[in-house]
């Protein structure tokens, strides 16, 4: 397969991950931090996320399996998982953690068990997606190509700049570096 085709495939795949909310803007930040002096940054952070998360999920299963559940401990673990998933941009996992923490506050055993299942589900989904993404990147690099930077528009802050003749002007913060101008039309 040609490098250009692989690059296009990677860009399309990454875009679907964003559109389906598996990843958010924070993931693009990681890619911006990867450079010649730090060529494996994304791989290292993602791997650390996997190791950390799997340990936390195990700890959570054990904590919720106790005859008398220590919700403070459970909450502490979920807090960590929320922090890591937020740092790498694993949006769905982070959102599941937020819900989880709410039920921890209520000390609701049934609901927290359901939340654990939900978090596990989201984690394994995003793990699969990230592994696929990294594999695609490795294939491109192995074939001598470079990893294309993705630019995405995110409506993260909506600022009213002021009134204009035809209506209100909004500004949208974008992330990433432009690689070609045609992609902005697909937003």
């Amino acid at each position: 397969m040609e490098v250009v085709q692989m690059q296009r495939g990677l860009v399309d795949y990454t875009k679907t991950l964003f559109m389906e909310c598996f990843l958010d803007a924070q993931f693009l930040q990681l890619q911006q931090l990867q450079d010649e002096s730090n060529p494996d940054f994304v791989f290292e952070v993602v791997s650390l996320f996997f190791d950390d998360s799997e340990k936390l999920l195990n700890d959570l299963s054990m904590a919720l399996d106790q005859p008398s559940v220590d919700f403070k401990k459970v909450d502490a673990h979920v807090h960590q998982l929320k922090g890591s998933s937020s740092s790498i941009g694993a949006q769905r996992v982070k959102d599941a953690c937020v819900t989880f923490r709410n039920f921890c506050e209520e000390q609701n055993i049934e609901a927290t068990l359901r939340c654990l299942q939900q978090v596990k589900h989201e984690y394994y989904l995003v793990k699969n997606k990230l592994e696929t993404l990294l594999r695609l990147e490795q294939q491109i690099v192995a074939a001598g190509g470079s990893i294309p930077m993705i630019e995405m528009g995110f409506l993260k802050t909506i600022n009213m700049k002021g009134k204009h003749d035809s209506g209100v002007v909004y500004t949208v913060e974008t992330y990433g570096v432009f690689c070609d101008s045609t992609s902005i039309r697909s937003l």
Binding site: A25, Q26, Q29, L30, Q32, L33, D35, S37, N38, F41, E44, V45, L48, F49, D52, K72, D75, A76, H79, Q80, K82, G83, S84, S86, S87, I88, G89, E151, G153, K156, T157, I158, N159, M160, H164, S166, G167, V168, V169, Y170, T171, V172, E173, T174, Y175, V177, F178, S181, I184
Partner: protein
């Protein structure tokens, strides 16, 4: 939507702003809020774009979050030391560290107490590093607690590269940075 879109940029590597105008039926109330508040964009010719050799200490219990914060700072040229506990932080902090970033949203870890201890360790203001809280909590209580214990600033996580750059620039210039919460 009968609109048009254009892009403004200050140059290569400086990011871009896409501006679009479209006709929308009615504007929902909530669009008038800014849920996440970013620091105002620093114009490119004010302030450095890198901070070579700036010694920074980062305290964060979470390994992933720590690595990402370090990534941002190293990318900006900083000399970063990482610690994962308050004891380590107090032990390692020296007057060579210009800025200390502390994650204060970990339940059970008292970032506030460390700030007080730091004030005790470095009694002379010019020797004391700038102490900044990194938090995911967007509430006034967190911000007020930080101010009360003498922290020099509060930054909301997650942090982007652009934001980290302007944070460092602001801190070095003004020694204070409390983000609007």
């Amino acid at each position: 939507m009968e609109g048009h879109i254009w892009i403004e940029s200050e140059g290569l590597g400086k990011g871009s702003t896409a501006i679009f105008m479209v006709k929308i039926g009615s504007i929902p109330e909530r669009l008038n809020e800014s849920k996440l508040v970013f620091m105002p964009k620093v114009p490119p010719n004010h302030g450095p774009t890198a901070f070579p050799g700036l010694k920074v200490l980062v305290m964060d219990e979470n390994g992933v979050s720590r690595k990402v914060t370090k990534g941002h700072l190293v990318h900006l040229g900083c000399d970063v030391t990482m610690v994962s506990s308050s004891e380590e932080c107090l032990r390692v902090a020296s007057n060579e560290h210009k800025i200390v970033f502390m994650d204060v949203c970990t339940p059970g870890m008292d970032g506030y107490e460390i700030a007080i201890c730091m004030h005790e360790k470095f009694t002379k203001r010019h020797e004391r590093p700038i102490i900044v809280a990194l938090t995911g909590n967007t509430d006034k209580v967190t911000k007020e607690s930080c101010m009360r214990v003498g922290m020099n600033g509060v930054i909301l996580k997650p942090v982007s590269l652009d934001k980290m750059r302007s944070v460092l620039s602001d801190l070095l210039e003004h020694r204070v940075l409390f983000e609007a919460i």
